[in-house]
Amino acid sequence: MPTSAPNAAHPPTAPRAGGSPLGDVTASDSSLRRFLHGLPGVDAVGLEARAAALGTRSIKTTAKAYALDLAISMVDLTTLEGADTPGKVRALGAKAVHPDPTDRTAPTTAAVCVYPDMVAAAKEAVAGSGVLVASVATAFPAGRAALGVKLADVRDAVAAGADEIDMVIDRGAFLAGRYLKVYEEIVAVKEASGAARLKVIFETGELSTYDNIRRASWLGMLAGADFIKTSTGKVGVNATPANTLLMLEAVRDFRAQTGVQVGVKPAGGIRTAKDALKFLVLVNETAGGDWLDNHWFRFGASSLLNDLLMQRQKLATGRYSGPDYVTVD
């Protein structure tokens, strides 16, 4: 059974800010471009077919029980609304710590994920539980602000006690081919994050092509990302099995090449336990068992948790649960 808190045995992420594990690749815009454009292309049909094929795995009985708890432990329980209040965040924190009010054996979630100004409230709500607090930052979700503003945003969250920072990349710069600008911004944010682990959000729905997602993944990892994350949840298309599979291939290959392990976080659009289990199959059969741990894989989600809990109850009791038997938050 997975533990609810990230395993203390995990080594701290190697400090890589400003120093690329692939040497000269990041020396200039043109060398970075040459490297990223030299990555193998992605065939969309084949990628999606592979993701779909893995989606047909049948996860039953003991494997399902294991996977449901693992998935619960990987949730970054998220609220990112303009209407968020400390009260709302407290409720969320309580749920993260005790997801199933009827069954205290349910694991806690990995983290709660909030806006920077809610970090303090969140810290308080999860204090002592081992549940982490993640904060979006860098002018989330659009990221359209000056670097100084973004860095201030990050420092603010860290100062409030955030354990993790979920930043967004400058998609405009990326799509315009200004890869070094994107890279340097990530490096700067990484530095500003200090001890907090950095999740780099690509907003895959805006990058539009799989080739771009692969390039962004490598760009993010070169710049020191601790996690690469699909989406903000604020655009039309967020995490999909295919784009997550592609990012899992990237972290697998990056570790093979550099020895550095990077986590993956699909976010947005994953609402059912069935979907979550498919993502875990993707992890298992692509990056491998080393990533089947909430230190290396997360779900950015909110409503997913209740479905996981209902499925968990069904497995325990043999009867289908209903929404009145899980908590609204």
Binding site: P40, G41, G46, T56, K60, E249, E285, L292
Partner: protein, 492 residues
Amino acid sequence: MSMEKPASAFEYAPAPESRAVVDIAPSYGLFIDGEFTEAADGRVFKTVAPATEEVLSEVAQAGEADVDRAVRAARRAFASWSALPGSERAKYLFRIARIVQERSRELAVLETLDNGKPIKETRDSDLPLVAAHFFYYAGWADKLEHAGFGRRTTNGHSGASPRPLGVAGQVIPWNFPLLMLAWKIAPALATGNTVVLKPAETTPLSALFFADVCRQAGLPKGVVNIVPGYGDAGAALVAHPDVDKVAFTGSTAVGKEIARTVAGTRKKLTLELGGKGANIVFDDAPLDQAVEGIVNGIFFNQGQVCCAGSRLLVQESVQDELLDALKRRLTTLRLGDPLDKNTDIGAINSAEQLARITALAERGEAEGAERWSPACELPSTGYWFAPTLFTGVTQAHTVAREEIFGPVLSVLTFRTPDEAVAKANNTPYGLSAGIWSEKGSRVLAVANRLRAGVVWSNTFNKFDPTSPFGGYKESGSGREGGRHGLEAYLDV
């Protein structure tokens, strides 16, 4: 049973499809003239589940007299069947397509039991394609004059409305028992022919089940006759003087025998035979997808596929990278109970086929190719062969030339596109080929130069009823599928 457990504790629990969904009778007769009957000489044979060696049923074994009876029944049925308006024939075929869809779960389980292939393949590939094939050809039955045949109006040929040939004698293999039946029967019936079909001796059950589908569809008696049996029954069918059309899918050696048998007769012949498909990976390939395509190309249906990509031609500059990725991927393949929904690699169809694969693999080793398989525990009963790679293979190796028809991939390298094409074409076969490259002009140029009937670029082992399938050279002649597939059954 999975191979080399991934480092994680995420071990999938058994997820078996229920075998109770299909009723298998203890014995089956021949299906002739709408009735199940015993063989004239009373002979029977047993069909076993290759995964367990369990006897599934006892099946009447057709001999020459039975084949004759079946051909006569088909001949009798031909007059009225061919006289039906095409629109009515179409409706029978549409009915068959729909009934196959309705009963696809039963059929998938039955096929998996009798053949040994994984349920996920019968469920997701064989059965959907079977239904689609009938549905496709159903639509042709009343549109034959629009198919572009029958342009020749002289010499007693059909003219504008192409005519059926008569009785079709069809002999099919064991690797896709029901799908091959569909490829044979659907176009034959759509064009107004009647059929005598001999399924393979190791996989007769789905064809006999299909007889029940015909019954439910109300198909007139004698239009479809099924005569399970061995090679002698196939030979008798092919040689029968009242057969007008012979269609065979199977080995090249038998195909040649059949070609000799029908020489000098009026019988129209189509052959779909062996292959030694080249799967060519260029250095600009989408590598992750290429790995999937290679796996699909050679391990789909345990490599018992005529169009398998059994020769991997990889550009030397990406050889190491690709082979590392391929080996890593092979360690995740799950071999075992074909009825388990998570099984990737099922059983080899028969002891005989297993012996052939084993012998050829040993030959590969003896000739100095380097053999590799993922750590893999094989079940103690049944017919099993671990996924196998041979590296360091050259054109001179037996494993690069002979069709193995099993989960054995020979890896060769090349340096330039010209060399890739030359090596790909350097075989008496010419059924399939694969090209992996992100450069469009390269894909098209290479596709142009490959002497193969089906070329998959950035994909492999894709099938569709609308897409003609068939080989160059010794891989056979004629095409099945699509508009092209009608020609074999029409007097044009």
